[in-house]
Symmetry: D2
């Protein structure tokens, strides 16, 4: 995943924050937090997850499509993105 | 929009079907159709719209990114897609 | 669809604007507008459609759930919303 | 969060599975897994998160709206759901 090597530290920090948000959600459920709070936490996790995903998609376009090492690699990278896109835009 | 020239007829047919669905929604509102029916119509319009969008995004990748006429054009096409993606994945 | 009777004029205006946006999209395709423009139009239609949908869902909750005429009607209205929600949150 | 007390064990299991998926994503990034794999993992986490969210929204409707203890509580529960809905349908 070369396009994350440069800023891998940054990406990892975001993923860890997401894991932390998930663990906070787990604690909220255990503490029987109000349902509305849990729904708000879920919405916030979803926002963070989508932000991370959009960034990785752009990284993918930049590194694996634009900077592809061969035409074959570029076609493959486009196919990979198309497959994932289908699950977001449906 | 070269990648739609080949199958422009097909695309136009889909867009016209969508326009037709919107006009049916208008009639449903005028006829004071049950709210649940209107919500179902909206969900179905959204599905058709997203399907069309995913197809056009893939066409964009194929024609304007993979088959770009120059490196500059390819970078621009990627930037255009990234900008649109941001509004779908957030 | 009682909760739209009050502000039916407003709702209809929004739906008609959406139909108009769809027809503009059709013209853009016919005129072979740049693909990026078409994708932007689609994103904008989707935003308008979602805004309308969210408003109708809230109207549904207000009029058919909160102001339900019977417990049976309330249960039905909740079931209808749940079914639609599933297609948006998946 | 009364509507999760009944099946709290089930919900917690789902949240823990999600936390586990997030930690697997972290390991994938550390191991410099192919970008396409990471994007697939993200899509799969999103699906699980949305499934959980839809279930909690339905639980909210069932327990805090339908089975509300008072009219005031019911109105509040509807307002809470509307606020969250806005972030999913936009």
């Amino acid at each position: 995943m070369s396009h994350t090597q440069q800023d891998q530290a940054k990406l990892l920090a975001r993923v860890r924050r997401l894991t932390g948000q998930m663990q906070a959600l787990e604690r909220a459920l255990l503490a029987q937090a109000p349902c509305a709070d849990v729904l708000q936490q879920l919405a916030s996790i979803r926002g963070a997850l989508n932000g991370l995903t959009a960034e990785l998609m752009e990284g993918h376009l930049r590194e694996h499509v634009l900077a592809a090492e061969s035409e074959t690699a570029r076609v493959q990278a486009v196919d990979e993105l198309s497959a994932v896109l289908r699950t977001y835009v449906r």
